[in-house]
C-alpha cells in the first residue's frame, strides 16, 4: 500500500481524510503545520502528501515548495478550502501535483489520488 | 415666541433602583443609587467610579487606549479621555476626587491579531490604570485580561462591581 502523510491543522479534517485513506494507504503521519510536514516528509519520504494550505507557522504552499525542491519526484496534492485562482497558480508554481477543494466527496479524493499516484 | 415642549415634566418616583445601560464609548453617572450596567466587553474596559460621601457613581465603557491622534470626537471612546470625562462628570455631581474609588473589568486579549506588541486589551488596561493613578483614585478591584468576554454592573449604593462571563458564574469585586 502507498504511504501517505496528512498535513492539516484541523483535527476534524485529519480524521475525515484518515477514514477515506486508511483502506488503501498506510498513513505514516498526521501533522498540523507546514514545518512539521517538511520534517516528517524528509524522515518518511511517503509516496504522497495531502497538504492543506492555510496552516499555522508555515503554510502548505511554502511547505510544498520546499518538499518539491528537495525531491522533485515527491507527490503533493493540495487539499484546501481555498478556491482562489491566484492561490491555485501559486500551488502549481510550488510544484503541487493536484488540488482538491473542501468540502469534498470521497470519490473526488480517490480520483485525484489515482491521477497523481496510479495504483 | 416661547415654545412649550414639556421638557420640564417630572419623572415618576420609582421604588426599585433604576437600571441604566451604558453603551460602548458612553458614560453615565447617577446620584440616586441606580444600577449601572454594560455588556459585551472584549478588549474594551468598563471603569466604575463611586464616591461614598456624595453617593455619586459612574461607569464608562472605553474602547481604545488613547485619544492622542484624534481631534474632537467622543471622549468616552478612549481610556485616557474617558476616565477624565467620568471624573469631571462625578465632580459636577458633587463628588470629590479624594473620596473616589475605582473598579475595572475587561481588557481581554481574545482575538487579538496584532503580531507584535501588546494587545489592545492590555494597552487599554494600562492606560486606564495610568489615568486613574494620575487622578490619585485607588483601584479597589479588577478583573482584566484573559481570553473571554465580560458583562458587568455597578451597584452604586454599595460600590459592588459584579462581573459575569459567558461561561462562568458571576464574581463580585
Amino acid at each position: 500500500m502507498p504511504d501517505v502523510l496528512i498535513a492539516d491543522d484541523s483535527e476534524f479534517m485529519r480524521n475525515l481524510l484518515r477514514e477515506i485513506l486508511e483502506e488503501d494507504h498506510t498513513i505514516v503521519g498526521e501533522v498540523e503545520n507546514g514545518v512539521e510536514a517538511v520534517e516528517v516528509y524528509k524522515e518518511e519520504t511517503p509516496d504522497l502528501v495531502m497538504m492543506d494550505i492555510v496552516m499555522p507557522i508555515r503554510d502548505g504552499i511554502e511547505a510544498t515548495d520546499e518538499i518539491k525542491s528537495s525531491n522533485p519526484d515527491a507527490n503533493v496534492i493540495m487539499c484546501t478550502s481555498v478556491g482562489q485562482e491566484e492561490k491555485m497558480k501559486e500551488a502549481v508554481k510550488a510544484g503541487a501535483d493536484g488540488y482538491i477543494t473542501k468540502p469534498f466527496q470521497k470519490p473526488s479524493v480517490i480520483e485525484a489520488i489515482e491521477d497523481v499516484v496510479p495504483s | 415666541m416661547k415654545v412649550y415642549d414639556g421638557s420640564q415634566t417630572e419623572r415618576a418616583q420609582q421604588s426599585e433602583p433604576e437600571r441604566i445601560k451604558v453603551g460602548i464609548a458612553e458614560y453615565r453617572v447617577t446620584t440616586d443609587e441606580a444600577v449601572l450596567t454594560t455588556s459585551g466587553l472584549g478588549s474594551c474596559i468598563g471603569v466604575g467610579i463611586y464616591d461614598e460621601v456624595s453617593g455619586a457613581a459612574g461607569l464608562v465603557h472605553v474602547m481604545l487606549p488613547t485619544a492622542e491622534d484624534v481631534e474632537g470626537g467622543n471622549r468616552a471612546k478612549f481610556a485616557d479621555t474617558g476616565v477624565a470625562a467620568l471624573v469631571e462628570a462625578l465632580e459636577a455631581e458633587g463628588a470629590s476626587r479624594d473620596g473616589m474609588r475605582a473598579k475595572i473589568a475587561g481588557g481581554s486579549d481574545m482575538l487579538d491579531f496584532s503580531e507584535n506588541g501588546p494587545s489592545i486589551g492590555s494597552r487599554n488596561a494600562d492606560q486606564v490604570k495610568e489615568t486613574l493613578a494620575a487622578f490619585d483614585i485607588p483601584v479597589l478591584g479588577e478583573d482584566v485580561g484573559g481570553d473571554h468576554g465580560r458583562s458587568l454592573r455597578l451597584e452604586s449604593d454599595t460600590g459592588d462591581f459584579v462581573v459575569k462571563s459567558a461561561n462562568t458564574e458571576s464574581t463580585t469585586l
Binding site: 482562489q84 | 474594551c44 474602547m63
Partner: protein, 405 residues
C-alpha cells in the same frame, strides 16, 4: 457616483440624531425611558428589506415625505407592546381599540416629525410629509415597498432601533429614500476627493458577496447533508462604536480569521449554541457523548468555519484577480458582542466609521442559523472597489481543471 466616507458618516449621524429627537418626544409624552440603540445605513437587495422583522406582528405609522429628500418612512413596534404604549400615554386607553389606535397614531406622528425635522434643519431646506397612516401588519409587510432602482436591485435603508429601558419593547424607524434625490444630496453634501467610495461598485461588491454567501451555504449543505439557503447579504455603515451592537448578546460558537490582501479585515462565522450543536452533529459520523457544546462539536465547527470563510472570500479574490489570505480559524465560544468588540477596536485604530458585511443563512429541516460578518479595513476596501472591474463581477469561481492541466 462617488460618495465620501465623511458624508456617509454625516448622514448616519443625522439619522441617529433624528431618532434621538423622536425618542425624546416619546419620553416627554409618556415618561417612557427609551434610548436609541443602533442607527445604521444599509445597502441591500430591495427584496430583502425588512427580513429581520419576519415572524412578528407590528403596529405603527407610515408616511411619505418629499422635498430635499423623497421616500417613505415608518415607525413600528411589536403588536404586544401597543397596549402598554397606549396606556402609558393615557391610562385605560388600551381598553378601547379606537383610543388605542389614536394613541399610537399620535405618538407616531410626534416621533416621526422629530425625526424628519432634524434632516430638514441640517439640509437647510424643507421636507414635507403626508399625514400619518396607521398600520397593523406582520413581518416585512409593515414596511413600505422599497423604491425601484434603475440598474441595481439594491437600495439604501436608514434603520434605527430604539430600546425601551427595562421593558422588552423595541421600536424601529425605517426610512427608505428614493435613490436619485438621496444620491444628489450625498454628492452635494460630500467632499468627493480623497476618501470617496464609488457607490455603484459598492453595489456590485455586495452582489459578489451575495454569491459568496451562496457558496458558503452550499459548502454547509455539502458537509452536513442539510439543504441550506443563503438569506440576506447586506453592507451596513455605522460608527465604529456601534459595530458590536450589530450582533446580539447571546452566546455564540464560531470562528474568526484575519484576512489580508485587497480587501483586508476580519471575518466571523457564528452559530447560536443550538445551531452549533445541530450542525456539528450533522457533520459527524458518530453520536456525541456529553451535553452542550463539546470539544468534538468545536472541532467540527472550526473546520466548517474555515470552509465557509473560504467560500465567502474566494469570490472576491477571483473577481479582483488577486489573492486574499486568511489566518487559520480561531475558535470562539462567547457572548456575541464581546467577540466583535476586539475586532472593532482593531479596525477602530485607523478609522471612525466602518462598513460591516452581514450575511445570514438558514435551513428548514432543523433549527439552524448561521451568520457571517466581515469587518473590512476601509482603506483596503476602497482600493478593492477601485480595482473592481464591474464586467468581471460574475467570475467568482476559479477553474481548477484548467490550472492543473
Amino acid at each position: 457616483m462617488n460618495v465620501d466616507i465623511q458624508s456617509l458618516g454625516t448622514f448616519n449621524q443625522l439619522a441617529h440624531e433624528g431618532a434621538q429627537q423622536a425618542t425624546q418626544s416619546l419620553a416627554q409624552m409618556t415618561g417612557i425611558d427609551a434610548v436609541v440603540d443602533v442607527t445604521k445605513i444599509t445597502l441591500l437587495d430591495r427584496a430583502d428589506v425588512g427580513d429581520d422583522l419576519t415572524g412578528a406582528e407590528f403596529v405603527g405609522v407610515q408616511f411619505g415625505f418629499e422635498g430635499a429628500l423623497e421616500g417613505e418612512t415608518v415607525l413600528v413596534f411589536d403588536r404586544d407592546s401597543a397596549d402598554t404604549i397606549a396606556d402609558s400615554l393615557m391610562p385605560g386607553a388600551s381598553d378601547d381599540p379606537a383610543m388605542a389606535q389614536s394613541s399610537v397614531e399620535e405618538i407616531g406622528n410626534i416621533m416621526m416629525s422629530g425625526f424628519i425635522d432634524g434632516w430638514a434643519d441640517y439640509l437647510d431646506s424643507t421636507i414635507d410629509h403626508s399625514p400619518p397612516e396607521y398600520i397593523e401588519r406582520s413581518g416585512a409587510d409593515v414596511l413600505p415597498d422599497a423604491p425601484e432602482p434603475d440598474e441595481h436591485q439594491q437600495v439604501f435603508v436608514f434603520k434605527s432601533e430604539i430600546e425601551w429601558v427595562g421593558e422588552s419593547v423595541n421600536f424601529y424607524i425605517y426610512m427608505l429614500p428614493e435613490y436619485d434625490p438621496l444620491a444628489e444630496m450625498m454628492m452635494e453634501h460630500g467632499d468627493t476627493d480623497g476618501d470617496a467610495i464609488p457607490i455603484d461598485k459598492l453595489q456590485t461588491f455586495n452582489e459578489m458577496t451575495t454569491s459568496g454567501t451562496q457558496q458558503a451555504a452550499g459548502n454547509v449543505e455539502m458537509m452536513t447533508g442539510i439543504p441550506t439557503t443563503a438569506e440576506v447579504t447586506e453592507i451596513s455603515f455605522a460608527p465604529i462604536e456601534d459595530v458590536p451592537k450589530q450582533i446580539g448578546t447571546d452566546t455564540y460558537v464560531g470562528t474568526v480569521v484575519e484576512f489580508t490582501g485587497t480587501p483586508s479585515g476580519y471575518l466571523m462565522v457564528l452559530f447560536d449554541e443550538v445551531s452549533a450543536v445541530n450542525v456539528a452533529e450533522a457533520m459527524m459520523p458518530v453520536e456525541v457523548e456529553g451535553d452542550g457544546v463539546t470539544d468534538q462539536h468545536k472541532a467540527a465547527i472550526e473546520e466548517l468555519g474555515n470552509i465557509m470563510t473560504s467560500g465567502f472570500v474566494d469570490g472576491w479574490a477571483n473577481v479582483l484577480q488577486t489573492s486574499v489570505d486568511h489566518t487559520p480559524p480561531r475558535l470562539v465560544h462567547d457572548m456575541g458582542r464581546s467577540i466583535v468588540d476586539p475586532l472593532a477596536a482593531q479596525v477602530g485604530q485607523h478609522q471612525e466609521h466602518a462598513f460591516i458585511i452581514n450575511s445570514t443563512m438558514r435551513t428548514d429541516d432543523i433549527e439552524f442559523n448561521a451568520e457571517i460578518h466581515a469587518l473590512p479595513n476601509e482603506k483596503e476596501l476602497r482600493e478593492a472597489l477601485e480595482d473592481l472591474d464591474v464586467e468581471r463581477a460574475d467570475e467568482t469561481d476559479a477553474d481548477v481543471e484548467q490550472i492543473f492541466e
